[in-house]
Every structure is written in C-alpha cells, then in structure tokens.
C-alpha cells in the first residue's frame, strides 16, 4: 500500500513526523510500520508535548528506589519492603463508554503495579464530571457518573483490591471531557521487584493472558486528539475488561516470578504488543523478533496491523530464561491462562515482526520508544483564562449564613460521596485502617509495622485562575491531608489533565502547572516517581480547566488511625495554623463563590510553603504524641464546612470566631495551612505549635448534637448535627435521583 498524505493524517502524524520516520528507517515505512509509529509516537505514549517540561520535576529522594521510566515508581518503606504506585488516566474512553472505559482504566493501572512484582493493595480514584443540576447536560452527566462508578466497582471489587479513597468534583467544563484518574499501589520485598528490561540474546519472548482481539485498536491515538462529533462513533476503540482474568493473571504472575525464570516482564497497555516489546527491547538495548502467527487470537483473519495495535486487556509479555519456559507454562496453565513463546531476544536492536512468512515490520526499538519527536510548543503567552481578576464591585452580604452553610454541605462538590464509595469494596484484604471519606486513606502492610497513607488532590478552579499557584496548592493539600492522619509524605505521582497543547495559552497552563508542582514537590520533599499526561481534553473546542491531580504517598506506624469526626463532648478545638485571612480577590476561587454566588473571579488562596510545611511538621508531632481525638484539614468550603464534616458522629461544637473580616470570608474562606483538631490536652498541643512557629488557639469546644458558630458576638450559625448530616449525606443520591439507602 502506498502511504498517502491522507493515510498519514488519518494516523494523526504530521508531515514532519512522517519525514522523521523515513529518515530513521532510511526508507518509506510499510502500512503496518506506519501504524506502529503512529501509536508509539502518539501524545499518549510519547509525551511529545510535555517531555521537555517534565524534566523539571524532582525525581530523587531518600525513599525513592525507582523513579519515572518504569511501569510504576517505587519507594522503600523500611525493613526491606517497598511499595510501587502510579496514577493513570482513562478520560477519553470513559466519555465514550463510561462503564468499560473506567473499568479498563482500573485494569491498566493494576497491571502496571503487579508487572513490577508488587501485589496491589489499594486503589484511589480522582473523578471530574459535568454538573448534575442546572445544566443542559445534567441527565447525561448523571449517566456518565453512574457508569464510571459501576465500572470502577466492577473491576476493583472482582479483582479483589480495595478502593479506599479519592475525590469527585463537578464543573461544566468536564461535561464533554470527564476525567477518570486511577491511582494504584502495591507492595513487595525490594529484592522481588521486576523490571521491564529485555536481556540475553536468544531468550524466549512469552505471551501470557487473554487472547488478542480487535478491541481498542488506536486507543492511544484516540486519547491524543480532541473530541469531535465523529469521536462518538469510536466506541469500538474502547476496550472491554475482564477483572476475573486479571485476578488470575495477577496470581499467576506473582507465582511465576517466584520461579526465577523471568528476566523481564511488561504489561500490554496502550498500543499493546507493540509498546511492550519495543520498550523492553529499547531499555535492554536489544532486538526482539516476534512471529504473529503464534499469538493467541480471539478472532480470525486479523492482520499484522490489527494485532500490533490491538489493546485487548489482561495480557503480559515476558522475557524468560532460555530452557526454563516450561516452568512458566506450568504456572500459567495451572491458572487456566494462555502462555506461548511468540519470539526471542535478538542482537541488533530492531523490532522485527513476521506474519504468515512476511516480514511486516523491521524498526529500531529506540526509534519507537525513545526517538519520538519532542516539541517545545509555544507557551510564552498568558495561560488561558476568561474569569475577571478583580472581584465584583459588591459581593452581596449573606442573608442567612445558616442557609449558606447547608447549601454548601449539600452541594455536589462538598457533599458526602458515600453513594459512590459504598459501591466499592474498600475493605477486602483487611488492611484498610482508614477508608473513603476521610482526609487520607490508610492501609497497613501486614508484613511490617508500617502503614501507607494516600491522598489524591487537585483543584481545577484554582489552577484555572493561576496554574502555578493552583498546582502548588494541590501538592500542599495532599501533603496536609497525609500529615493530618499523622503520615510523613515521602513521594508523589501526578496526572496532568489539560486541553490542546497546540494552543499556546493551554500549553502555558501546562508549563506553569508543571513548574508549580516541581517547586512544591521539591519544597515538601515528595519527589515525583512517575505519572501520566492526558492532553487534548477538549470537546468541540471547549477545553477543561487545567487539572493536575497529585497522588502523594506517606508512611506512618501501624496503629488505630485518628479520624476526622469529633469523638467526645467537652474536647477543646484547636485551629492549627490560625484563622488566616482571605481577601475579596481570593474569595472568588472559593466554593462559596461557586455555590452561593455562582461566580468565579480573582485568584486562588495565597500559599506560604514554609509556613505550610511547619504546620505539617507540628501536626505530625501532635499525632505521634497521641494528643488529639480528631483531626481534619480545612480546604474547600473553609472553616464552617470543615466543622460540619467533623460532626458526623452526632457530636457538635460551639465555636467563637473573631476576625476583622466579613463573616463570609472568615467562615468560608479557603486559606490553606489549617487543620482543626479536638483535644483534651490543649496546652500540650499549643506548646508544640509554639515550638514549630505555627499559630493556633482554642476556638471552641465540642458539645452535644449542635454546631454553633458565634461571629463577633452574634450567633451566625446554629444547626443540629442531624440536619447537617441529612444535608451532607442526602445530597448526592438526590442529585442522581436515586434512593438514599438500600
């Protein structure tokens, strides 16, 4: 077949990229080779727009065992044990087919973890959808929510990994571009970690797991383009997952790894057979020969092009020690899985694919994996935003702060996400010390006395108003969440969700956000060990808010966790960090501005990273000293919403607020660096704050069944905990028009 400009365009390659392919090969590529290049050089696989900027991220630290470049990052947790973790997006497939799109997103990230030898012990997910009310797309958005949540539940529950936390936010900009970012973490001994580096000329290449079908062809390219009306017809591009098969694959891989016969192993994710073979070959500087006739196939008549680009799920590629194939076959057959030798490791560094006696592709592995174009896309403009910088001339005074509070706690962003997380098995494997609904999830590692805390955070509104500061705030909040439960943040993964990088004002958002993450992760000593970039999150020219999502991992001693709910009456409330003022300009990024005023303006909250870090250090010392009964960080919705969230156990609080600000700013401003604790020993708590140079004082006391907030001598808020709970818990089922319970 002759390669025409139309064919090149159809493969989402530019003319310049095509010329680079010709020069790397020294000839015109075949149609199959063009297909292979198109997926490996897609934005999704090659990071061509972001690579030069990702280099700015800190990637080393004393806990880091493996940084970016492998299937997942790895950190040491002591005693010879390590955890592997990473975040991945499945945004585009989840819009086209919510259930399978989300389900296979979970499947993909789980394989990234266990391909390294680590058994997955936790999943968290960060979700963004269009609004569930007051929007022309509300009905469709609700269907996407329902589909995505049941897809995640289906896959994670059946696989047997607990889904222990996450976040879920609603904005109009996500209506055509929902975000489904899934984080997974696994554990193993350091000496049992496997890498995806092919070695040993003559070693066999073994295919294991599900058979190859035509599903998901060009999924990676789909995920690298904007949505148009045509995209909806790309449903066949979405893969179908089988979590049962994945569970078998997990158990078989872990057992096979113990034989010592595996040299390298990589899952077949985006671009399936192609990416796994050329990446393993490229890392080991060797060639790979594959005979496609030997690949287990689910359908007949598949071409080399289709097999190489298929994204059929639940498959792995293994390089084994020559002569020990049978040991591996025995393990996979025990679990009822296909395992066949389909090729071998060769000299010379080329990926050579034969099919029906024809050499279909002969490409240097490096050309595919490492020589993808890198673009320094124009970004020297102001990041895209249309929201005004100045506050409105008058911000209307609240008529009823009580009503405002109830409106906030029952808003889609701030309300309880129980409807979502009760569909997830968050306890399987009996390691979950703190599950969904708290500041950070905690799972214990049974084999050690250590536990792992995890938090996913991102704030699109903040990043839209200022990508650099918004990204720093996401890092700060994630680290604060970990510190609130007493964990030391040690490493991070990030998922960068942005629009079209070919638009300079969008590229500027991306660059600013990466630099913000770099700055904050350096400051908080949480190096990035891997992650994912999802660009082209645009539908019909409408982009999302720039949405970097940070997944930060912390470690702590295994013991009963500190919860966020008040536990007993008569405890003193200490606001660690102090009241921290909010001005009119920064109030525009708050949930109050969104929910009560239906506006967005100004700037995100001001962050002092030195102070923030001192707050974390003080909190961890307080937690380690067992001085508090509860701890909860202040974030979206500010002080009043945080207090409400602490009242879930029918114990309330009486609080006195006196600041020079307007009551709305004082109660609902979202200044960072604040954590609310309840304690019977306030003096000791305050003395720790003093030693760390952190403000803080007793602002109230816990009482029975009411939340009362006195502002400048008048009772601004007085509500029963049962009314609060009903507003908080009932909101999401009501928005989704489903039953509250059962």
């Amino acid at each position: 077949m002759t390669i025409t400009p139309e064919i090149i365009k159809h493969h989402q390659l530019t003319q310049g990229e095509y010329e680079k392919i010709v020069s790397l090969l020294g000839r015109e590529p075949s149609y199959t080779e063009l297909g292979v290049f198109s997926v490996m050089w897609s934005e999704h696989c090659s990071y061509k727009s972001s690579r030069i900027h990702l280099k700015k991220l800190p990637i080393t630290g004393k806990y880091v065992v493996q940084g970016p470049g492998e299937n997942a990052g790895i950190i040491g947790i002591g005693g010879g044990w390590v955890v592997a973790f990473k975040i991945e997006s499945h945004n585009h497939p989840s819009y086209i087919e919510p259930f399978q799109g989300a389900a296979t997103g979970v499947g993909g990230i789980l394989r990234d973890i266990f391909t390294m030898g680590a058994r997955p012990i936790a999943v968290l997910d960060s979700l963004r959808f269009g609004p569930l009310s007051n929007s022309p797309t509300a009905e469709r958005n609700a269907r996407i929510v329902t589909g995505v949540v049941s897809g995640i539940a289906h896959y994670g529950n059946c696989f047997g990994v607990p889904t222990v936390g996450g976040e879920c936010i609603f904005e109009e900009c996500y209506a055509g571009n929902p975000l489904v970012n899934v984080f997974a973490l696994g554990v193993c001994r350091q000496e049992d970690v496997f890498f995806a580096k092919a070695k040993g000329i003559g070693n066999p290449v073994i295919y294991v797991g599900a058979k190859t079908g035509r599903d998901g062809i060009h999924g990676a390219s789909m995920a690298s383009a904007e949505f148009t009306e045509e995209s909806k017809q790309k449903r066949p591009n979405v893969q179908v997952g089988d979590p049962f098969l994945e569970k078998l694959l997990l158990e078989a891989c872990i057992e096979a790894m113990k034989t010592g016969a595996i040299v390298a192993i990589q899952d077949m994710g985006a671009a399936g057979l192609t990416s796994s073979s050329c990446e393993m070959g490229s890392r080991g500087d060797v060639g790979i020969d594959l005979d496609l006739d030997l690949v287990p196939q689910r359908e007949t008549g598949m071409t080399a092009y289709e097999m190489l680009l298929s994204e059929s799920q639940e498959r792995m590629l293994i390089v084994a020690e020559k002569g020990r194939e049978q040991e591996l076959f025995d393990v996979f057959h025990k679990w009822g899985l296909d395992a066949v030798t389909i090729g071998s490791v060769t000299e010379g560094g080329n990926l050579r694919i034969s099919h029906k006696g024809v050499l279909e592709a002969d490409i240097p592995n490096r050309a595919l994996a490492d020589e993808a174009p890198k673009y320094d896309r124009p970004h020297n403009v102001k990041p895209y935003r249309t929201a005004p910088l100045d506050p409105p001339a008058t911000i209307p005074a609240s008529k009823d702060l009580n009503a405002d509070l109830l409106k906030l706690v029952s808003s889609a962003d701030l309300c309880s996400k129980r409807w979502i997380w009760e569909q997830y098995d968050y306890q399987v494997r009996t390691n979950t010390l703190a599950g969904p609904g708290g500041d950070a999830a905690i799972v214990r590692v049974k084999e050690t006395g250590q536990s792992i805390a995890m938090s996913l955070d991102g704030n699109g509104r903040y990043c839209y108003l200022d990508p650099r500061e918004g990204a720093k705030l996401a890092v700060a909040e994630s680290c604060r969440n970990l510190s609130t439960v007493g964990a030391l943040p040690v490493a991070a993964t990030n998922n960068l969700n942005f629009g079209n990088p070919e638009r300079p004002e969008i590229m500027a958002q991306l660059v600013e956000a990466i630099e913000g993450i770099a700055e904050a992760c350096t400051h908080f000593e949480t190096p990035i060990t891997g992650g994912n970039v999802s660009l082209y999150n645009e539908t019909l020219g409408e982009g999302i808010y720039p949405t970097p999502v940070l997944g930060i991992v912390g470690i702590l001693k295994t013991e009963a966790p500190i919860g966020s709910s008040f536990r007993s009456v008569g405890a003193q409330l200490v606001l660690i960090g102090g009241f921290r003022s909010t001005d009119a300009q920064r109030f525009g990024s708050s949930q109050y501005a969104k929910v009560v005023l239906d506006q967005l303006w100004g700037l995100p909250p001001a962050l002092d990273m030195d102070y923030e870090k001192r707050v974390h250090e003080a909190m961890r010392e307080i937690a380690a000293s067992h001085l508090v009964e509860s701890a909860h960080d202040l974030s979206d919705g500010g002080l009043a919403v945080a207090l409400s969230e602490c009242c879930t156990a029918a114990i309330g609080a009486r609080v006195r607020v006196s600041t020079a600000e307007r009551p709305e700013f004082a109660l609902f401003g979202e200044a960072p660096s604040r954590i609310l604790v309840s304690t019977m020993t306030p003096e000791q708590t305050l003395s720790i704050l003093l030693r760390h140079g952190v403000e803080g004082g007793v602002i109230g006391v816990t009482i029975e069944e009411r939340l009362q907030i006195e502002y400048e001598g008048t009772m601004a808020i007085d509500v029963t905990t049962s009314v609060l709970r009903e507003s908080f818990e009932g909101a999401l089922p009501a928005l989704l028009h489903t039953q509250h319970a059962v």
Binding site: N157, F244, K247, V428, R444
Partner: protein, 231 residues
C-alpha cells in the same frame, strides 16, 4: 482447630479468612491454624472445619457460585458436611453453598441494584449452633457486608421451615439488600453448615475497627476442640 480455606480461581477473601484464623483467633488459650485448599482438590484433608471465602469464584459468570459448585473440591466439601464437618460459607461462599444445595433459597441481585460495602447491624437469632454458641441471644453484631448479590429469597414454606427449625442464624437490623425476612445467615438442617453474607473475618482485628466477628470463630473453636456448644 485446623481450618481449610478453599481457594477458587477468583476467590479474594481467602487470605482474609486465613489471616483471621492464624493471626487474630490464634492467641493464648486458642489454638487455631488455617491452610489453603486448591479448588481441584478431591479431598479437604485433615481439617476440623472448612471455610468457603468471599470473592468472585470462576468470575461468577452465569450466576454467583453457579460454576464453583461443579468444582472437584465441592464434592469433597459435600462429603465433609455430610459427615458432620463444620462448613462456613461467607459471602460468595454462601452463594456457592446455596448453588450446591447445601443450603436452601437463593441469593439474587441487591434490591438497590448496586454493590454495597458498609457495616451493618445484625441480630443473633440463634445461639444453638456450632457457629453462634459463644454469642448471647439477640446479641447485636456490627459486621461489614460487601456484595452485589446478597438478597436472600426463598418460597414461604422454606422460610417458615427455616424459622420453625431455628435455622435463621442472623437477621439484618440495618437493611442493605432487601433480603426476605431480613435473613443474613442460615444453618443447614444438621446445623453444621452456616452461610452468611456479612464478613466476620473482616471484624477480627481491633485495628480494623471491630472484633465483632471473632465470636463466630470462637464458637467454632469450642465446638471442634470440645465437641460441645459453648454454654
């Protein structure tokens, strides 16, 4: 007490049951150990009790438990039960026991049509069994449920019979799946087989927030060691 925990392809609470027996139940004065039994075993071996754990055996294709009942190990479990051995089916294990005909009724999709994971209150209906003798009559246990197909259904005659023969072990106080007569767990006519949807093995470790599930395993321990019900 030596407990065999059956591992089907797709079992995923097998390790949790194993851990609860070996780590949480096995303490001074309580000698208990657990080992795994692979699904194609033709015998359960020398064990005092068998646990069919939660999970998605064989992917739970067709119906939950519908394929597992044909596995070689289930023939062995049936024989073990017929000889009076203790068999505890938890969640997917309960579904398998029902499919295998060791317990009556059926478990269908939750009334809410969604998977539900939460802690629910259970009423102990009978203490006259090897699984519940260490509990108090009407004792309330808070145990987690985690299932999509846990709605217990049966015809009226079966339900009447279960009640008349004191074979309802637990009832839900908090509704979570729409089960008939709030039934959460039932006994076989010989009282040596218990199937229940809630997960006692998840509530054996104080770090997990509750030890309400231990009483069930302690009852089994007393029965297997002394051959008597705790009283």
């Amino acid at each position: 007490m030596k407990v065999g925990v059956v591992v089907f392809p797709g079992s995923n609470c097998d390790h949790d049951a194993w851990y609860a027996i070996n780590q949480n139940l096995n303490r001074p004065g309580h000698t208990a150990s657990a080992e795994f039994i692979w699904h194609d075993a033709h015998s359960v071996g020398q064990v005092d009790a068998v646990i069919l754990p939660g999970g998605f055996s064989y992917g739970d294709y067709l119906r939950c438990g519908a394929i597992a009942r044909f596995s070689p190990v289930m023939q062995a479990v049936k024989k073990f039960a017929a000889d009076g051995g203790l068999v505890l089916g938890i969640c997917n294990g309960f579904q398998i026991l029902v499919e295998a005909g060791l317990l009556p009724g059926a478990l269908i999709r939750n009334a809410g049509l969604k998977f539900v994971c939460r802690s629910v209150g259970l009423q102990t209906v009978t203490t006259n069994s090897p699984f519940t003798s260490a509990l108090q009559p009407d004792q309330v246990l808070a145990l987690p449920v985690a299932h999509g197909e846990g709605q217990f259904v049966a015809d009226d005659r079966t339900l009447d019979q279960l009640e008349a023969e004191d074979r309802v072990a637990f009832r839900y106080i908090d509704h979570c799946n729409g089960s008939m007569r709030d039934i959460a767990g039932i006994l076989s006519s010989g009282r040596n087989v218990l199937g229940m949807m809630p997960h006692p093995e998840r509530a054996c470790d104080p770090l997990m927030g509750s030890t309400a599930g231990l009483g069930i395993f302690e009852s089994m321990l007393a029965y297997t060691q002394q051959g008597v019900l705790v009283k």
